[in-house]
């Protein structure tokens, strides 16, 4: 990556511009005898727009003796490093000024340092607890992280300053992120009532609502551009909403329009680059990102740096294609993963095509990242993402089975989940609400295999017990603006249960009807009425009792179960096997879905093994696996016990389960390959012995030889010959391979 830095162009200070007018008022209030804020005149030129004059104005500020003016000058020029230094000096010169601290915080927002931004706003509020711009700063910084607390701060800011229309604008934005158009509309209009000619973001939100509903929104756009002809931020806002609603094509188009109006709107250019990358348009993505890096504010946005770094790493990936699949794997793990992922990929596409009665018009791309942080950058532009897979149109990015600790991640369930999105989002042109898309994908995980998919964990039990699940009409809020830390995960669970309930009661055709309804831009109440014949309230009135009944034993018995599980664990530690068996059997079925480490099944199995009763130990571990147990070591233990008991088919089943969870285990592949050969499934053995090789076994000769025997069994003698030669190249004197070579050569 060759880059130079020209940090002299004017940055797109969208967020800061939002608050300048009000800060000016507040500035005068705080500094009763002072004149305007140092950058006020320059900002006016920037908004006029007179870029050259604004640049000259900001440059002049940098030559001032006042460190605050210098800071504002550099900020206006997009030289964040120098602005930061100058802000430090400005604050040292006047430690009691909440305005400077707030401005500094706003600078930190621009350079992706939300924690520092928050610190500044908090310090500012310590100096002046009623300083509304600092409250708005808090609201903004929290809203960037989709934190539900942002609303509270915006409301506080409004209370402190009822004329702060930006608070209404921000709340309108957050409501629209929750897909609550009515509330978004209300707040946007409130903002316009306060500032009919200044609330440009409110107008942008209103135009966005129109466009999201496939209407042009011309009235609002015309009004915006009449006030400020180069307000590219309006399209940037649209781009943001298209993207978060997975309408990436339209998002990209909106970002392009934003840049036509304002080529130096670097945040929009960065988003354009990132979204092009999401769509696999790597070349143009690189061009946009490099332009942002080279010409935009310095230091450049983290999202830009991360994305460019990731694009560089693509040289380490290899891609294989079939007419309907594109599979992109890191070279180092491609040999191991490809056979498994490709097979499941094809199966999923065939299944969904039939199930959704829809044929995709081109191949689907899956990208698999062994480094979770690369995957996070690929999807969000930033590391730290908790998700396992993300879908962009017909492109799926996901963690590699090797990207997480063994047992943490069911890669096949994740893949099916994401591929469900590909179908549903393509069929509806991404018009489904998040609860429906995610709920259906969660449902699909267990529809493939009952033991796949996530179980009800203690956090969901707690949420049910405390009645924290959301009405269906508000369920999207749980995904976008959670009001408690685990609400996103709980909402995934609830979405899955909602879809399970719908399918159980109305059948899968009802789901297809709902998809059709969303495709035709109907809202959830209408879709529910048309497809299920119920209002949202009626749905909730049926769904919640059903869920409560279904989970009653676990929810009601959870406290007792928790207490007694501790006793079981203590007995197991002391090897008091009779006590483990007695208590374990009594509590196991209170909460049978608990299959995480320290579960009753494993304690029971341990106890039975301690007493020499292997059949009962096997029974417990089989029940654990059927309930979705994923710990690789335990699955392997189960397979070993089953083999020892002579039940090879059951051992195969256990090892096959392991393959969907963790693949880099040559011993498991070796065992499964051998079992397949013994049970007359040489095709399966070929895949498993390839798995041994792909795992990087030290025993290359043995692995190639085994693969050769499997190929021979499926009558692919040419490949068998290749493998036997590979075996002998590693170990020329390996007698079984020599014998096989002579036999193959004689044929």
């Amino acid at each position: 990556m060759m880059k130079s830095k020209f940090p002299y162009l004017i940055a797109a200070l969208v967020l800061i511009a939002l608050y300048v007018g009000d800060e000016q008022r507040w500035f005068r209030r705080v500094h009763a005898q002072s004149g305007p804020m140092p950058q006020a005149e320059c900002d006016k030129l920037r908004d006029k727009p007179d870029v050259a004059a604004a640049k000259a104005c900001y440059t002049k500020l940098t030559q001032s003796r006042d460190p605050w003016a210098i800071a504002e000058g550099y900020l206006g020029l997009g030289n964040m490093g120098s602005a930061n230094t100058a802000f430090q000096a400005a604050i040292a010169a006047n430690k009691k000024d909440p305005v400077r601290l707030t401005r500094w915080g706003q600078m930190y927002i621009l350079i992706d340092q939300p924690k520092d931004a928050r610190d500044c706003f908090e310090e500012s509020l310590e100096l002046d607890p009623d300083y509304a711009p600092a409250m708005m700063g808090m609201a903004k910084v929290l809203s960037i992280g989709y934190d539900g607390e942002a609303t509270k701060w915006a409301e506080k800011a409004l209370k402190a300053d009822p004329k702060m229309y930006q608070a209404h604008e921000l709340m309108a934005q957050m409501h629209l992120e929750d897909n609550n158009e009515a509330k978004a509309l209300e707040d946007a209009k409130n903002a316009l009532q306060i500032a009919p000619n200044d609330a440009l973001q409110a107008m942008a939100i209103l135009a966005t609502i129109e466009q999201m509903n496939d209407r042009p929104g011309k009235e609002w756009l015309d009004k915006i551009f009449k006030i400020r002809s180069n307000y590219g931020e309006a399209y940037e806002t649209m781009g943001h909403f298209f993207v978060i609603n997975r309408r990436y094509d339209e998002g990209i188009a909106a970002y392009r329009k934003a840049l036509e109006l304002k080529p130096d709107l670097w945040t929009a250019r960065a988003e354009l680059g990132v979204n092009l990358m999401r769509f696999g348009k790597d070349e143009e993505a690189r061009m946009q990102l490099e332009k942002t890096f080279n010409e935009g504010p310095a230091p450049s946005l983290l999202i830009v740096r991360n994305s460019l770094k990731l694009l560089d790493s693509y040289a380490n990936f290899e891609t294989t294609t079939t007419p309907r699949t594109i599979l992109k794997l890191q070279k180092k793990e491609a040999a191991l993963l490809r056979p498994y992922i490709q097979e499941e990929f094809e199966t999923a596409l065939t299944t969904y095509e039939k199930k959704y009665k829809f044929k995709l018009d081109g191949p689907v791309q899956i990208e698999v990242y062994p480094d979770h942080e690369d995957f996070a950058v690929r999807t969000m532009g930033m590391p730290g993402l908790g998700a396992l897979g993300v879908t962009f149109g017909k492109v799926v990015a996901m963690d590699s089975p090797n990207g997480r600790k063994p047992g943490e991640f069911h890669w096949a369930a994740t893949m099916w989940h994401e591929l469900s999105h590909v179908y549903v989002l393509t069929m509806t042109q991404s018009r489904t609400p998040r609860w429906f898309t995610e709920g259906l994908a969660v449902y699909e995980e267990t529809a493939v295999h009952p033991e796949w998919g996530d179980r009800m964990t203690p956090r969901e039990i707690k949420a049910i017990k405390e009645k924290k699940l959301l009405p269906i009409a508000d369920l999207d809020r749980g995904y976008i603006h959670p009001s408690y830390p685990e609400q996103v995960i709980v909402s995934y669970y609830q979405g899955g249960r909602v879809l399970t309930y719908i399918i159980d009661k109305w059948g899968f055709d009802a789901v297809l009807k709902m998809i059709d309804g969303y495709k035709n831009l109907k809202d959830t109440p209408t879709v529910l009425k048309d497809a299920l014949g119920v209002t949202p309230e009626e749905f909730d009135a049926q769904f919640f009792p059903w869920l409560e009944k279904d989970t009653k034993t676990a929810v009601d018995g959870f406290d007792n179960w928790t207490k007694r599980l501790k006793d079981v664990a203590a007995s197991a530690k002391e090897k008091q096997w009779d006590a483990v068996i007695k208590d374990g059997l009594e509590i196991r079925d209170i909460y049978p879905d608990y299959i995480e480490p320290a579960n009753v099944y494993e304690f029971l199995s341990q106890a039975y093994l301690g007493k020499g009763d292997k059949p009962k130990a096997i029974t417990q571990l089989e029940a654990w696996a059927e309930h979705g147990g994923r710990t690789p070591a335990t699955l392997k233990q189960l397979a070993d016990l089953q083999m020892e008991a002579g039940n090879k088919k059951a051992a195969v089943s256990a090892l096959e389960k392991l393959n969907f969870i963790f693949l880099k285990d040559e011993v498991a592949h070796q065992k499964l390959g051998t079992l397949y050969m013994e049970l007359g499934n040489p095709k399966g053995a070929v895949r498993e012995f390839q798995g041994v090789l792909g795992s990087g076994t030290i025993d290359q000769a043995g692995a190639h030889y085994n693969l050769a025997t499997a190929y021979r069994a499926v009558k692919q003698n040419d490949k068998a010959l290749e493998e036997v030669f590979a075996s002998l190249e590693a170990a020329p004197g390996y007698k079984p391979a020599q014998k096989l070579l002579l036999e193959l050569s004689a044929q």
């Binding site: 600790k405 990087g696 190249e729 170990a731």
Partner: protein
Amino acid sequence: MRTVLLLAAAALSVQANSFYLTVAGLGGEPDYEQRFTAWAGDMKKALAGEAGAKVEVLTGKDATKANIQAKLAGFASQAKADDTLAVFFIGHGTFDDIDYKLNIPGQDISASELADALNKIPARQLVVIGTSASGGAIEKLQKDKRTVITATKAGTEKNATVFARFWVEAFRDPAADTDKNQTLTALEVYKYARLKTKDYFDTQKRLATEHSMLEDTGKGDGENDPSVANGQGLLAGRFPLLHLGSAATVAATPAKQALLKKKDDLETSIDELKYKKASMDTPAYTKQMQQLLLELAKVQASLDQ
């Protein structure tokens, strides 16, 4: 490379003696104590069937400096130049920027003191230090005709190690005999333990806190991945640690001398071809290699009749 094979063959057929000493140092806590003693026991078990081997193990309170020195002195009085001596140290170690020390009951033993004792033994030697900070011992122990293997690349890698666990595991896993000649060499065991150690840290998603080293040239810092390219591993590849099957009893009857000679020539050609691989185009290499391998298989079939 042919020399390597001939020497290996010599190691298999000549009536040389093998001496083994395994020392399990202090664990510091019961879990480690138990683990180290178990690994030493596993080593003893694995070597028990080795013909003509003298296997000594020191664990727990017996693993003192005096006992270690006494065992090595005993070997010095018995061993000849064509014998082999393999010494394994399991446990925790320290490095003070000057010398490495193995933590044992009583006074610790340093790498310099070990070197003094080992230098008196005429046999070909393998010294494996599977402890924390063991990389710090390389400089003191390295010597012509001695292979030194350590669990860490330097004395600064101070965390408890897992290398020794996989070193011991190699003796139980037939996969470790990568060339399938039924003789486990020091190089094969090293490569097995190195790979398993790496996999262990990769799988656990933990930053690797140990990087094993092999040094068998008598100079330099050693290599984590010994190869022809870096010149390490030649001696280790010739050092037999365990015979797994009938390799030691290959009958060379006069009637089969011609076939044996042919086999020998083919093996030489295969080795030579492998070394030319980088400079050849792939189809030509593959063709020649396949011809040689097929011919070798035929000769072996005749020998086995």
